[in-house]
Amino acid sequence: MEFSLLGAAALAVAGVYSALRWEAARGNAGDCTADLWDIAVAALTVGLVIGRLTAMIAAGVNPLSSPGDIAIVRSGVDTAFASLAALGTIGWLGRREVVAIMDGLAVAALAGLAGWHAGCLVRGACLGTITDLPWAMTQPGSSTGRHPVELYAAVAYVAAVAALATLRRYRPPPPGLAAGLALLVAGAVRLATEPLRLSLAGGPVLWYLAAIVVGGTGAVVAIRRPR
């Protein structure tokens, strides 16, 4: 049995939980009455299931005739549909205060992404394209240096978490700005690191661009809207 993927997922969940606890202790989500942890868990679960089902259907595997395959998450989860499903779940569960909930989850979502990408160290899946930079990493038994591209993404997300948490702590942003910035950062980090990743089909670049556009637009609207 292979538990490395579970280890990486545990790091992601730990990132979400820690960020929510950290923000709650500082009153950063004071304008939100919903239980953010419950909503985060529901969004993660729904996103994972929908992303897995979508990946199976895209690969030509019928989930009803091969139900056992749903549990084999390693075979692929469609990132775009998982994200849409997670966002849809948040929107549905928090429809009475959706902007406040999105803002409340923004830092936690980025922390979760940081944990997931750092989990490459557990999964043994940090490496990307070839490089001779001093910090290049190699596979066991290989002398080919490669970009630790997943660690680049993890570091970028950690920096974004620190910046956004500081903003929310010391200069409370207008409603919707944190959520917009988080979506923009999530797309931008993936887009920036995609050329360094190894992939068979190429990453969902259009979806990353869509996240940047939607997140950026949301941030601009939040800033310009009168408070």
């Binding site: 690969a59 019928n62 009803l64 084999i72 390693r74 075979s75 190894l198 089909a201």
Partner: protein, 173 residues
């Protein structure tokens, strides 16, 4: 104006949506292909497999699979896509083990109908041992162009891992 009346057949609105989603999944699922279009798999042996690898002239990915293996079904679309993408650069051999011809042919018809993968049949399941692998399924063995097993991955492959190992093979020549 939003309709607020009862949904037919005693379903709640949420139940109706779930039913619609399930029907959509069924509609989107793959249809089974007739296995009679797939010829019987040739029997292989450690020597036969070594000869196939040696004569390929390229790095080779040997995937050990069986039709009764659920994880094998799950990673099959990925291998088929990789075989098509790297056709001519990397050879792909499907080593079917501890299976029946009928089961293997049905599996190929469903998951590898057009993929450039050479499938061979090992009823006893001992051939992977000759390459240094175990009797587990699935296993993927990455063999360099010189015929030396470069890495053995046990369990389901993910896309990044498969892309990385193929890149390692191509870099290593």
């Amino acid at each position: 104006m939003v309709a607020t009346g009862p949904v037919p057949f005693g379903l709640t609105r949420t139940g109706a949506w779930i039913l619609v989603a399930l029907l959509a999944i069924v509609a989107c699922g793959a249809e089974r292909v007739d296995a009679s279009s797939v010829p019987p798999l040739p029997e292989t042996s450690p020597q036969d497999l070594a000869d196939r690898i040696a004569t390929s002239g390229t790095p080779v990915v040997v995937n050990v699979w069986a039709s009764w293996c659920i994880p094998c079904r799950s990673e099959a679309p990925l291998l088929a896509a990789a075989a098509e993408q790297f056709a001519g650069e990397v050879g792909f051999i499907g080593l079917n083990v501890r299976d029946s011809q009928q089961g293997a042919r049905s599996f190929i018809a469903e998951f590898f109908p057009d993929a450039p993968i050479v499938h061979v049949f090992d009823a006893g399941g001992d051939v992977p041992l000759a390459l240094g692998a175990s009797r587990a399924v699935p296993i993927t063995i990455f063999v360099s162009a010189s015929g030396v097993p470069h890495r053995i991955r046990t369990g389901v492959l993910d896309e990044r891992t498969l892309a990385l190992e193929i890149d390692e093979l191509l870099v290593g020549g």
